[in-house]
Structures are given as structure tokens and as C-alpha cells.
Symmetry: C2
Subunit: 388 residues, 2 copies
Amino acid sequence: MENFIFQNATKIIFGRETELKVGDEIKGHGRKVLLHYGGGSIKKTGLYDKVVNSLKSAGVEFVELGGAVPNPRLGLVNEGIKICRENEIDFILAVGGGSAIDSAKAIAVGVPYNGDVWDFFEGKAEAKEAVPVGVILTIPAAGSEASPNSVITKEEGLLKRGMYSELIRPVFSILNPELTFTLPNYQTACGAADMMAHIMERYFTNVTHADLTDRLCEATLKTIIKNVPIVLNEPDNYDGRAEVLWAGTVAHNGLLGTGRVEDWASHNIEHEISAIYDVAHGAGLAVVFPAWMKYVYKNNLDRFVQFAVRVWNVEMNFEDPERTALEGIEKITEFFRQIGLPVTLKEMDIEDDRFEEMASKATMNDQITLGNFKKLNKEDVYNIYKLG
Amino acid sequence: MENFIFQNATKIIFGRETELKVGDEIKGHGRKVLLHYGGGSIKKTGLYDKVVNSLKSAGVEFVELGGAVPNPRLGLVNEGIKICRENEIDFILAVGGGSAIDSAKAIAVGVPYNGDVWDFFEGKAEAKEAVPVGVILTIPAAGSEASPNSVITKEEGLLKRGMYSELIRPVFSILNPELTFTLPNYQTACGAADMMAHIMERYFTNVTHADLTDRLCEATLKTIIKNVPIVLNEPDNYDGRAEVLWAGTVAHNGLLGTGRVEDWASHNIEHEISAIYDVAHGAGLAVVFPAWMKYVYKNNLDRFVQFAVRVWNVEMNFEDPERTALEGIEKITEFFRQIGLPVTLKEMDIEDDRFEEMASKATMNDQITLGNFKKLNKEDVYNIYKLG
């Protein structure tokens, strides 16, 4: 097991009607709020009115900024920064999924910074302060509700980059499974792929003797695998939605990576796809992760055998463990297909004409490698796109 | 799944040599420290010198108070409060196991309180402020290093009572598996029973559809069950010690109880034993928990079947599930025996002459019931002592 530091102070407020308390929850942190959200769905579902009423009855002032889109854009972040400065905003409330949250986090570090917020995403600056962020989560997927990360896409050059700072970890996140009842099945499925990927980026490691986190990863994966088909079939199944929602947070709150060396190659490989083609991140992952697995499994066969046996209940083939490992990879591919996700790039109408460019961007012209389970250079990344 | 709030801000600093940084870690929180510990073991192992050197080189002043004993006493707590007030202490560092930490937490709430600190343990007062507490953990067991709880014994009447406040959750806890190499096997085993009990108090619930936390509980139990025999056999096995140490924290940091109704009858039943006989809490639990299981399993057979199959790999007996459940109870009893713990009260030289008194104290003269899995009155508690 590796040395680690683990701290996650986000207050999770979980359950029915918890969104009604958001105004009171904010009061301890701020007085004037930027209410940040995505498209119109929160207005259609009535969530917008509930939030506004809660803010008003708590005496919290607010200014609005809607329009966060999947793969959220730098342009909107800059607009948010301007609004916050002009209105002396001291708290940002994101209502939505990972896009609204990541956008809110980027605004939060941008407001007090004397420079281009993109500096944080290019690693040119480190955040020293940030406006506190709170969340009402409506899409279980990104795990951004309890993570210190934000991923933003710069329109110019379609660059998708991430930043990390403890300062942007939400101070609270409100998770009400009922708010996820209206999610379209495709979005639920994309979310499942995203959270499974967050776990697998941690699970596939060459660190030995990480029993506890191995088993915690497996526990969380099995919960998702059991409950996603339930909610696709019955969108208002409260308990099923609750399992998926809480699993999505646990998947990415940092616990499952403690003591391990994490990988994250697949996420970076996927980012180049969704930056250019604007496909859902989760759908991209459903293609990239199995392709990555096929490319790297021989690097540490035991780990893939354990994955197959413990997560997918594949019967151990003692005479031919490689067969067991491959069955595990088939199982996850089949699972993604069953929940309605594409499992090849072709199904997303992505041809091979830009693989070279994408592999080059992902590895900064072959100057860096991706991942830790197996270090991947530009050629490896290209080959994985080919397998996708 | 039940509604819940989950927040745990304790910073876990885990790994080799992490105790050397304690002085720097404290600097952000306080300037004058009460260094609180138990007997002489930290002086024998050299840990005391390392801590003192780290404090000195960070320029942190300190005053010492040793003498925390298992089932820590109110007398020492009051002594600590007096020392803190006289010396204007603004940070308490507990070095040791649950006893030193619980004692430190009680001192922490007592210092700013204008009254008897025992009030908090009798539920007569609620803590409004506390001196911040930090921890260097040397015994994986109580989970106090990341919990908001303290359990103290009042000498007069041998009353063992607990308190809860977010204010006493440690701001940081340093966990170095190497510091646990010198633990005697009996203490390691008692710690294992304690942490397993913390998980089982959460696991045995009648709340349905708590898949994620069911599996997280099972994951943590299996990790303990695998690794405790390893470290008993090879006390300086770093990875084995690391698994047990981190599992002990995860067992009791609150995550495993999210969305569930917890039980805690067995802990209360055990407290009456260790208050009177001064046996190790973990040893008492190794007797009480299986006795409790035998007494209550019919109340929710399915749960005990799941426990047997998933935690202990008992083969499901489809024709006679009760047989499967009972095999699970036999398995845990056998495990406790194998790791060197008593599994009957007789083995601890405890006769039945005070069962009546203990059952009466535990239920406040039959005025309250214990537990939630099955509500236990005085007679039930008496019967469980009889089964022990």
C-alpha cells in the first residue's frame, strides 16, 4: 500500500426533499449567490422554483446564470466570472450535473484571480483562493459534487483540460434521488459508464496489497451494475436511484484511490473524443475503456482475472486464466451495450480520420505518456482508438 | 434507503514516517499543545522522542499528560482540563489508541465548558465549543481517530457513557502502520473485534435496499478477516498492518452507516461488562456479539444468511437457510477464538452473579430499550449475558 493523504470535507445532504433546505444551508457560507445551471430542464421539473423559493425564504440574494452545456465551455465561465465580480457574489450554487458543477468551480477560482482562468487548466497557475461552491445534484455521473476537480473545454482549438484544487471541493452537496427520476435513459446510462470509469481508473493499478480499496471498488461497481438496469426499467424507483446516486459520489470522492497509484489514461483518451465530436463523456468512456482493457490486460493479467471473478462473477478458469480475464472484458462491454450505450466509435459516427490528431493532442505531440497501469505513448493511444 | 447527512473532515495522513510531520501539521491549528498519551509504551518504542522532536523543531510548545488507561477515566479527564486551563492550551494531541483519544476529546470539550464535563456524557449539556484535537494512532481498534465520539468511565459507580459532537472529531489523524508493529497479539485481536463490531452494528439493520453500504461493510469485514491472521503471525508485515489500520478507520468514520438505521445494542451490553470487570472492550465484544446474534437472528433471517454467504463464504443452503445463518454465527465465533479472544464470559472469569445488575444498568432499570435490529429490554439483555 502507498502512503496517502485523504480528506474530504464536503457535507453530503442525502434524501427526499433535501433541496428545500438549500437556502438555510447557504446562509452560513454566503449572502449573495450566483445560481448556475444548465438548460431549461430544472425549470420544467419545478426544481428551479423550489430552489428560488428556498433562497428567498432564507433571505439569500441571488443572480442567475444558465446555459452550462455538456463539456462545459470556457466562454460561459468567463461570463460567470464577470457577473460575480460585478455583483459581489460570495457563493456559487450549481444546480445540475457535472457540467454545471465544473463550470461553477471554474468560475469560483476565476473570480479572485488576476489573470486568465484558463491558466489553472494549463497548469500555469495554482489557485490561492476561491468563492465557495455548493451543489444540488440532478445527474449522477461526474462525481464532481464531492471532488476537487473541474474539466472545461476551450472553444478555440477544442481543448478539454482539467484542474485540481482543494479550494473548489463543494462545501455541501444536496443529493435527492427523486430529482433524478426524470433523467432520460441514455443520460442515466452515460452517467453509469462515467462512474464505473472513475472506479476502474483507480482499480487498475500495479500496487500490490491494496485489499481494502480493491474490495471497496468492487462493492461500488457491483452496486452500480445491479441498480442501473433497475432504474432504466423503472425510472422512479427511489431506492434504485438512491443506490446509483450515492455510488456515483463514493466512486469519485477520493476514498477508493487511497493507497493506490491511479491510472486515468482512459479519461484522457476519451477527452480528445468528446472535445472534438461533442459526444457525452460517458458514452465515449463506454467505448474507450473496453478498448484500453484489451490493449493493456496482459500487463497485469492477475488484476483482470480478479476483476472478472469478483466484479462480474465469471467462473475462474484455472487452466486458462487469460480466458477468465477476457471474459471480464466481454462482460463489461456487454453491460454497456445492454444499458444502451455505444461500444464502438463507429456507432457514434466517428471515423478513423482524426485518430492521429487525437493521439497527438492527448500525448502533447508524443512528449508525455498517459496512465500508470501501462504507460502509453502516442502510438499506444492511436492503437486504442483503432480498437475502439 | 434512509435520508442521511454525511460529513467527515478529518484529514488522514497515512503511511511510513508520517508521524515525523506532526509538528508542522499542528502549526496551522494551535501554538500550545497538551501532549496526551497512555502508559509508557510510546517512550519504549521511541515514538515519544520523535513526537517531541517534531514539536520542538516546528516551534510548538507543549505540556504533557500521560496515564490514559483502557476504559479511560473521568478523573484523568478533569486533571487534563485543569492543566489546559492553567497553561492556555489551544490544541490537544493524543498519541495512542482509543483510550488516549477519547480522553483527549473529553478534555477538549471540558476546557471551555462552565460546568462538570460529565454533563456531556449524561446528555445534560450539548457541546458549544471545543479545543481542536489531533491524533497519532498506535492501536487500530476504536475508530476514534475519525469519529465524533468519546466514551469515558466515571469511577464512582463505574458508569461507562458516551458522548457525540462534531466538535470533537479530530482535525487530523496520523496513521503509520509501522507504529503498530509492536502491538501484542492480544491487543491486535481485541482491536479487530472492536472494528468488526463497529461494522456489524451498522450492517445488522432492517432497512431494505442498502446495497452500497451492505457491500462496503462486507468489503471492510473481509479485509479485516483476511489480514488479522497475517499480522498475528508476522507482526511487522507492513501491508497487513496497513490494511487493518485503514479498515479500522473506515469501519467507524460514518460512511458505512449512511442510509441505514444502526443498532449499537451490543456495544451498550458490552460497556456494562468492561465498566465492572475492566476487561478489554474488544474482548467483551467478542463474547457479546455472537451471543446477541444467537438471540436476534430469527428477527431477520435473510440478513444473517447474507452475512454468512457474503462475508464468510458459507455455501447457501437453499433447503434450510436458517442452517446457513447459524453457520455464519459459528464462523465468526470460530474466528474470534482463532485469533486468541475469549468467546465466553467464563473464559474471562465472569460469573453470572451480576448479570441482573448489569442488565438493569444497561437499560436504566428497564426504562429504555437497546438497539434497533430488535429492541431489547432488560430481560433480553439479561438473556444475552446468559448466552455469553
